[in-house]
């Protein structure tokens, strides 16, 4: 059984949501790892939870992205193991340059907290394979507008690294569905090898039908996969 590390940073507030989704809904072994630790030995997958690490000071995820544990998360990512960052976890992965781009203040200047629909664009990665229908998953962020320079965006498209886009309930792109004004309505991106996923929506808050949606499990199931080189 895979052991999943949920990294704990000061100011994160979705670490327990992530822990319970992984342990109780996925049925995996799960442990917290402190951000000042320097080893992920004994783990097969990593979850960077959401929240407001370091009060979002300087930039969202900027300080957490340079925490001692992040060198190890980078190594983990390079080895092809599953790494997911949701919301602030996505911002941290971008600030750590494990994923390209950055997250800016929402275009409509409002904190947005609601269910949205996202459509899997890439269908090959461990996180998105088998995701046929739009997923209904909550977002809760003020700074989720994904931006990236045009050259990198073209490369992301070419390399099939756009994991998810914001869509309407029919799975169609529309002006209203792009909840934060992200470039090309991007909700989540992959690293080059497809083992690292960053996304603004919260799959860990959609891991049980009794909480409103279990669609997040379709993404989180990738944490069950054992990688080749472990």
């Amino acid at each position: 059984m895979n052991r999943v590390a949920v990294i704990r940073f000061p100011g994160a507030n979705c670490d327990q949501d992530a822990f319970h989704a992984v342990r109780d809904d996925l049925g995996l072994e799960c442990h917290y790892v402190w951000h000042e630790d320097t080893s992920l030995s004994g783990f097969e997958a990593v979850f960077l939870p959401g929240g407001f690490t370091y009060g979002d000071y300087l930039r969202c995820g900027a300080i957490a992205g340079r925490a001692p544990i992040m060198d190890e998360v980078k190594r983990f990512a390079d080895e092809g193991r599953p790494v997911i960052g949701a919301c602030n976890g996505f911002q941290i992965l971008c600030e750590a340059q494990i994923l390209p781009g950055a997250l800016l203040l929402n275009a409509q200047e409002k904190f947005v907290c609601k269910y949205v629909h996202i459509r899997a664009e890439n269908r090959q990665s461990i996180w998105t394979r088998g995701v046929e229908k739009p997923l209904r998953i909550p977002v809760a962020h003020g700074e989720g507008r994904y931006v990236v320079d045009p050259e990198t965006l073209a490369r992301l498209e070419d390399e099939d690294r756009v994991a998810f886009r914001y869509v309407d309930s029919n799975g169609e792109l529309s002006d209203n569905s792009n909840v934060n004004g992200s470039v090309s309505a991007i909700a989540g991106v992959l690293n080059k090898n497809g083992n690292v996923l960053g996304l603004m929506p919260h799959p860990e808050r959609a891991a049980r039908a009794s909480l409103g949606s279990a669609d997040g499990l379709q993404i989180l199931n990738a944490l069950k996969l054992v990688t080749a080189n472990h």
Binding site: A62, I63, R66, P100, G101, L104, N106, A107, V147
Partner: protein, 78 residues
Amino acid sequence: MATVRVYVTLKPSLLDSAGRTVAGALQKLGFDELSDVRIGKMIEMQVEPYSEARVKEMCDKLLANPVIENYRFEAVTA
């Protein structure tokens, strides 16, 4: 001892939604001459000894994100 002021600004190509909100508020207050507002940050630091290369390193490593921001800095030595 040098006082270093680092100015970090959002790249001009990016929408500054906070700046747009402030512009709207100023216009509502009657400042019709205003056409655009962009918000950056100023980070003031005391360093001893001062080295331009070291401050540049601080900016590149943490203070500014090259994906979205530009920076410049000035140093005043006492």
